[in-house]
Symmetry: C2
């Protein structure tokens, strides 16, 4: 995993002073490292009953798509408001300042689906928790959540208590 | 290609009355069809000198990442304003109402790069043209552009005159 960690770049003071942003673009730029990350995200679920991978806009689209293909299941995009064209379900959640919402197509999943949620980063867990609720609103089951990076000090895993969380890199 | 076309769903009156939106989510949900689309997007470039694939936020991330992996080259995200954490280059362009801009990390590409630009849809070509300018601002070369869908009646290809455009499905 150290080879993977070497592909994550620290950017101080982004998006605001005091925050150290974990930049994944060096990882995306290295096809072997990106393949390795995909394999590691998918590995625990190769012999599981996952029927779909859902990914959060926008960076979750990158890893979610790759993991879905690795598991040979469909990819379900979870999108910001008013982006999905068909009938949607929606979940609102709090941000540091104000609130936002996440949407899914109402026909994207059903009660027999076992869903793996994928995003690049687990921080406070707000987006991840909202994503779980969205999947469950459609009657589907959240089988697990996978992240390239988990910021342990923000305790996102606590907010996801009861769910299986699989993170490749911890900070 | 008809099998692929069967996975694109028409949504009338989205995002506004009179527009028929091409919904790619059925394609994303079918892993075999998505693999086929990726192979078809990558096929003309398997023996080329492409050194990187760039994709436009957000749906371009999905296909761009898959094509980059198929060609075994890096993926470069082109993002909406204030999303990329490191030093960026930017290009502004006109939308139907108002204007927006697209950003790339300044160190993402160099003068020896031959870039394949990937997005899901070519409409009027505004975003695609801005993406070409962004790549060229870094001294790199746009080798070609690839799209899953091209809306011929909007004449986006005219705006991309001089560039190689490879679209899988035409409407």
């Amino acid at each position: 995993m150290q080879a993977l960690k070497d592909k994550i770049r620290d950017i101080p003071d982004f998006p605001k002073p005091g925050i150290i942003f974990k930049d994944i673009t060096p990882l995306l730029k290295d096809p072997e490292a990106l393949r390795f990350a995909t394999q590691q995200l998918a590995a625990p679920f190769l012999d599981s009953n996952i029927t779909a991978v859902a990914g959060m806009e926008a960076r979750g689209f990158i890893f979610g798509t790759l993991v879905a293909q690795a598991l040979n299941v469909g990819f379900i995009p979870l999108r910001k408001p008013n982006k999905l064209p068909h009938e949607t379900e929606s979940v609102s959640y709090e941000l540091e300042y104000g609130s936002t919402s996440l949407e899914i197509h109402s026909d994207a999943l059903g009660k027999n689906d076992q869903v793996l949620l994928i995003d690049d980063l687990l921080a406070t867990g707000g987006t991840a928790k909202a994503s779980c609720e969205l999947v469950e609103q459609l009657g589907a089951t959240v089988a697990a959540l996978g992240f390239v990076i988990e910021l342990d000090f923000l305790k996102g895993s606590d907010k996801l208590a009861g769910y299986q969380v699989h993170s490749l890199l911890h900070y």
